[in-house]
């Protein structure tokens, strides 16, 4: 018996079993961590195409004549800058400036916004947004209506194009279109969490297993691999994309997390703005920065970081980078120490191992 017997399952649970996935509990969901192996799956995404079940992710829809006012007030990025059919990365903040969650905001129409949120945060996000809804806007907890698949890698477009009449090359990065995949209504977004080109599609849960199989069939000629959360994590770390609970959480602000670019202070009032303004005034105490291990050893989440022999910060994410063949990580350091090229040490199981802060992302795909 596993401890998390009450874990949620996605509509693709049986498909994962069939593909021999190893399952783990993640954010209250029983999810595949790997199929053929993290390195193999990671390579497939960087070199060809991989398919992920991300149906554990949550969806929240905001509708109504004042949907814009609510969406813009609860998020840090400028919703006014979105065109219909465009998506943006954004933050949901508490009044004190810490993260409730990091999310994607899609503008479906002027009176309709579609939010993709983290699995473990979805109920909290929904209550948070409802709690500040002072407008004529309707907030729907829409997660049960969507399964989500991510098709990622340089061959993602060619793979998915076989299954849809929508011209995928006409969908720009961080844009989306409502169409059909394998004959099923689908929201097709050119977004992802891997640092590669690719798509995330939102489909009705009962149809997800058939679409899963069709995508695998369409990508077979490119060597498509089903991929688990293990590869999703190594891929996003190389691309320096934040993971809630690691780089960001309730006690971290976007200014500390190197996410000032998703905060539009000049857009008008929004939840958390005053706290961020105060923090900017007072000076940001700590900053997220990337590092590479120089000595032998692998940094892991939670390991302590030392500068000049003194404790100075902590590792938020760390591990081997399969693409770069180095051991990499992200850490928080006091602002005055968080500069590229600094020698630091990571306490790896009781031993201080040398590392050096570096520019990020660690990996950037060729355009």
């Amino acid at each position: 018996m596993h401890a998390e017997a009450a874990a949620n399952r996605t509509p693709l649970f049986e498909a994962h079993r069939r593909h021999g996935a190893r399952m783990v509990s993640f954010g209250g969901w029983e999810m595949p961590v790997q199929y053929s192996g993290i390195l193999d799956e990671h390579r497939a995404v960087r070199q060809a195409v991989g398919l992920f079940d991300v149906s554990h992710m949550g969806e929240i829809e905001i509708r109504g004549p004042e949907a814009f006012q609510l969406a813009d007030f609860v998020t840090t990025n400028a919703v006014a800058r979105l065109k219909t059919g465009q998506a943006q990365y954004s933050g949901l903040l508490y009044e004190h400036g810490g993260f409730v969650d990091d999310i994607l905001v899609h503008k479906v129409a002027g009176d309709h916004y579609f939010l993709c949120v983290n699995a473990a945060n979805q109920e909290k996000d929904y209550e948070h947004i409802r709690g500040v809804n002072h407008w004529a806007a309707e907030v729907e907890f829409a997660s049960p209506r969507y399964a989500q698949l991510a098709i990622q890698g340089p061959r993602a477009l060619t793979t998915l194009q076989k299954l849809t009449a929508s011209d995928l090359s006409a969908i720009a990065y961080y844009h989306f279109r409502d169409g059909a995949v394998a004959g099923v209504p689908a929201r097709i977004a050119r977004t992802g969490y891997t640092g590669e080109d690719g798509f995330e599609i939102y489909v009705p849960p009962p149809e997800a297993p058939r679409i899963w199989d069709e995508v695998l069939g369409a990508g077979a000629e490119f060597g498509i691999k089903p991929c688990g959360l293990g590869a999703r994590n190594t891929l996003r770390l190389e691309a320096k994309m934040a993971l809630y609970g690691h780089e960001i959480h309730a006690s971290i602000t976007p200014l500390e997390a190197d996410l000032a670019w998703i905060v539009k202070m000049d857009k008008g009032e929004f939840l958390g703005r005053a706290a961020l303004a105060r923090q900017r005034e007072a000076g940001i105490g700590r900053k997220l920065i990337g590092f590479e291990m120089r000595g032998r050893g692998i940094a892991r989440d939670g390991y302590e970081v030392f500068v000049d022999g003194r404790p100075a910060g902590w590792v938020t994410s760390g591990g081997p980078s399969p693409t770069l063949n180095k051991n990499i990580g992200l850490c928080y350091l006091p602002r005055e120490l968080a500069e590229i090229g600094r020698k630091i040490h990571v306490a790896v199981r009781g031993q201080l191992v040398e590392a050096e802060t570096v520019a990020t992302p660690f990996y950037k795909r060729a355009k």
């Binding site: 018996m1 993290i38 293990g230 032998r296 892991r300 591990g319 199981r349």
Partner: protein
């Protein structure tokens, strides 16, 4: 899958004894749980290891795990090939990927270890 001539621990190590020397490794189950292994840290020749105490660690892409000594004694050989080819631990955990060889200081400790059948029953998923 699990050779009869090995003795196993509940922490997923094995020992193969020939005379007064035991070769030590991690089990197939251990490598399967860890996934792709990318790094292994081992003691040096001449070090003393103690049954049940950590002798080193093995790191996969996603996690690090301690390796516990199945028996006590002096390290007389270390498998240096693993430093440049840690994936051998995934490919041949009961053979080419032995970790160290120990000159047993307390051979009676072997009686506390599991047989292949007992180990397999131990790791079988509860129904």
């Amino acid at each position: 899958m699990y050779p009869e001539d090995l003795r196993y621990t509940k922490e997923h190590e094995w020992v193969r004894v020939e005379g007064a020397v035991g070769a030590v490794g991690i089990t197939f189950h251990a490598q399967e749980q860890l996934g792709d292994i990318v790094y292994v840290e081992l003691p040096r020749t001449g070090d003393q290891v103690t049954q049940g105490k950590a002798l080193g660690s093995v790191e996969s892409v996603k996690a690090v795990s301690d390796i516990y000594a199945p028996v006590s004694g002096e390290v007389i050989a270390v498998n240096e090939a693993l430093a440049s080819a840690p994936e051998t631990l995934n490919q041949d955990p009961h053979g080419a990927a032995w970790l160290i060889k120990i000159k047993l200081s307390a051979p009676e400790e072997l009686s506390q270890l599991l047989s292949a059948a007992d180990y397999q029953a131990y790791i079988a998923p509860a129904s």
